[in-house]
Amino acid sequence: MTVTPEFQGTHLWDRLCWAKENLEGHQSDYRVVYEDSLDECAKILVPDPNWMACALQGGILPPVEVYWMLAQDEAQPDFKKHTRGYLLHNSKPIEAMTEEQAIEYLIMKDVPQSVWRDYDSGNKPKMVICRKEQLPGTREWRNAWKISEDIKATEQAA
């Protein structure tokens, strides 16, 4: 079993270099379907296999809250460049996650907060986690894909 070195204080980029060399990518079967605009079709988050390997390994990725802090900085009207990038590198890396926990982390990192904070408060869910087999097999009418109004956010994936 590959042991993760002590990475706190190591540049995140260098950790990813280590992971690329030492970890096998993991293709997740999960996909996250979400709608962040009423006027647009549903978007699909596809997890990266190398990132997933880092998440499953543990000790590499920073806490997701770090990304939220950087997003707050970037949202400032006078933002020019990140000055707190050290948060990515100096924060204590998170422990190994299960694949399901990794998907939750990824949602909180890569899906707009406006979607996942209250994804199940409207007439239909704004976000659904599914397996890739549950998506249409072809891209036909891709620009018209929407989350079904019949689906329940807590519905067990078939």
Binding site: T10, L16, E40, D48, N50, L70, L88, D110
Partner: protein, 131 residues
């Protein structure tokens, strides 16, 4: 990769001159992504990528693990369609305006009629400064 460090400001060749190591650091690609944009979209291989957003026909975004320092990075891509019958081009899309430090969007469209199209062979590369 060994975890030891070699700190140097200059690389010098025995006969071909020297190079400031900042050229290497600044000139290296900071993220890349090779993915299948058709059928069930999936990432083949990548570096410094946490996920791919499949937004609609021919429209995607590469999301970074290590954010970029600012939005003034450079990115480019290439796509191949129908076994190379059609050349496709990747450019920034509206998901990337204003440019974000966390993701870079690309459009894939057919050169002959500008129609948005998906491609089984899509690549994306990002060069710039890391946060």
């Amino acid at each position: 990769m060994a975890l030891g460090k070699i700190k140097a400001d200059t690389l010098e060749h025995s006969t071909a001159g020297s190079l400031d190591t900042s050229y290497v650091v600044n000139g290296s690609a900071k993220a890349w992504n090779s993915f299948n944009g058709t059928g069930t979209v999936a990432i083949r291989d990548s570096f410094n990528v946490s996920s791919l957003t499949d937004s609609t026909t021919g429209q995607y975004a590469t999301v970074f693990t290590n954010s970029m320092s600012n939005g003034n990075y450079s990115h480019s891509g290439f796509a191949e369609h129908d076994g190379g019958t059609h050349a496709l081009f990747a450019t920034s899309n509206k998901d990337n305006h204003p440019p974000s430090t966390t993701k870079a969007g690309i459009d894939s469209f057919r050169g002959s009629d500008n129609a948005a199209v998906d491609s089984s062979q899509m690549t994306h590369i990002i060069v710039g400064d890391l946060a």
